[in-house]
């Protein structure tokens, strides 16, 4: 039950994009087509879950015992950057179709603050290993939900007669604001 709550909270109540403001760059940058949004979600899910797991283990087995917690930011970002490279190399070898689909998004993920954000939050919230993993999965689903619905709306927006000065990014932000408003309706369910 506890785990279900972690997931629901991460997906709906404090949605990583619409409530926590993490991963806004890909949210605005790669949301003009549903297809690319799905690709990005896949890549983020993959890296986010592995990164949270690995950073959790490093934090609790290296940083805490040796009392160098202040190295957290540097360690985590290095882990994520090398992980992204590793995932890229492995994917290229074992699953070329998947690499083709996710390939262009992988390098972008290093600077996706959602990945580092979730890794840091999981440590800050004092989760255990299983809870951290579930938290990462929940946030990845939340990211995907926001990104894919948003890209669906943006595809429709292209067909509409938007005022000239609002075209592109401004209207995207206003739509995102309305989505965030809708997501606020979930507040208090857990």
């Amino acid at each position: 039950m506890e785990y279900v709550i972690i997931i629901i909270a991460a997906v709906f109540v404090s949605n990583i994009v619409l409530n926590q403001f993490l991963g806004i760059c890909p949210f605005i940058g790669v949301s003009s087509k549903v297809e690319t949004a799905i690709g990005m979600t896949g890549a983020v899910t993959f890296v986010m879950v592995i990164a949270t797991l690995v950073t959790y283990l490093i934090y609790h087995s290296v940083l805490v015992p040796f009392d160098v917690v202040y190295m957290r930011t540097i360690t985590f970002i290095l882990v994520i950057a090398s992980l992204v490279q590793l995932v890229e190399i492995i994917l290229k070898k074992i699953s070329p179709p998947l690499y083709q689909a996710l390939g262009i998004f992988l390098p972008l993920i290093t600077t996706n603050c959602a990945v580092l954000g979730v890794a840091v939050l999981a440590v800050q919230k004092d989760f255990n290993l299983l809870e951290s993993t579930i938290y990462a999965i929940g946030n990845a689903i939340g990211f995907g939900l926001a990104l894919i619905t948003f890209s669906g709306i943006r595809e429709q927006l292209d067909l509409l007669n938007v005022p000239k000065r609002m075209k592109g990014v401004p209207i995207a932000f206003i739509v995102a604001g309305l989505m965030a408003l809708a997501f606020m309706g979930f507040a208090g369910i857990v």
């Binding site: 609002m166 401004p170 932000f173 604001g177």
Partner: protein
């Protein structure tokens, strides 16, 4: 190169937030008040200037292949400095900005300038570029913070201007998106006028 142009481009023409759409996470995340926006902007400016300086200094020593990881380590070092200094001297502000301080590391603006500017230009130009882009970013955050604070809690830099409740929505997450969206419309209008 004209250093004044190099400095001032960060404010309007190549403003990180209003023109390049970089560093949007902290832009939306911390701007619940003008002072938070200002503090976040200045913290980012410090990291940006220092990392631009160091990257420009050692650009010839870094092998091309490990360029990005090296930049990230340099940036992360200065972010840790900011983190520790803020925790020590302004703990209240540190708590208010929370997660977004360590996240300066992944601010695309900082890495973007290191890669696109500092790794190709002289020390002095990189310093000016970092100052200009950083202060432009600070300006954007402060403006957005001031707008949200004014509408959301009826105050300006913490000074209460109207008593009672204001449009609380603008302090809440949806208000961040809406305020930035409409600010961008305003910027577009201004650009048209000056063009």
């Amino acid at each position: 190169m004209d250093q004044w142009k190099n400095f001032s481009k960060g404010f309007i023409k190549e403003n990180a937030v209003f023109a390049l759409f970089l560093g949007l996470c902290p832009t939306l995340g911390v701007t619940t008040s003008a002072i938070n926006g200002l503090a976040m902007g200045l913290a980012t400016t410090f990291v940006l200037v220092m990392s631009n300086l160091v990257v420009s200094l050692i650009k010839n020593l870094i092998p091309d292949k490990v360029r990005i990881p090296s930049f990230i380590v340099i940036i992360a070092t200065f972010v840790t400095v900011v983190e520790l200094v803020m925790k020590g001297y302004v703990p209240a502000l540190f708590d208010a900005l929370g997660l977004f301080i360590p996240l300066i590391v992944v601010n695309c603006l900082v890495l973007g300038r290191a890669e696109a500017y500092a790794s190709k230009n002289t020390l002095w130009s990189s310093l000016v570029d970092g100052m200009g882009m950083g202060l432009g970013f600070t300006m954007a955050l402060t403006v957005l913070g001031a707008v949200r604070e004014l509408l959301g809690s009826g105050a300006f830099f913490g000074m209460k201007l109207i008593s009672g409740d204001a449009l609380l929505l603008f302090i809440l997450p949806p208000g961040a998106f809406l305020a930035l969206g409409y600010l961008l419309v305003l910027v577009n209008m201004l650009k048209e006028k000056t063009a």
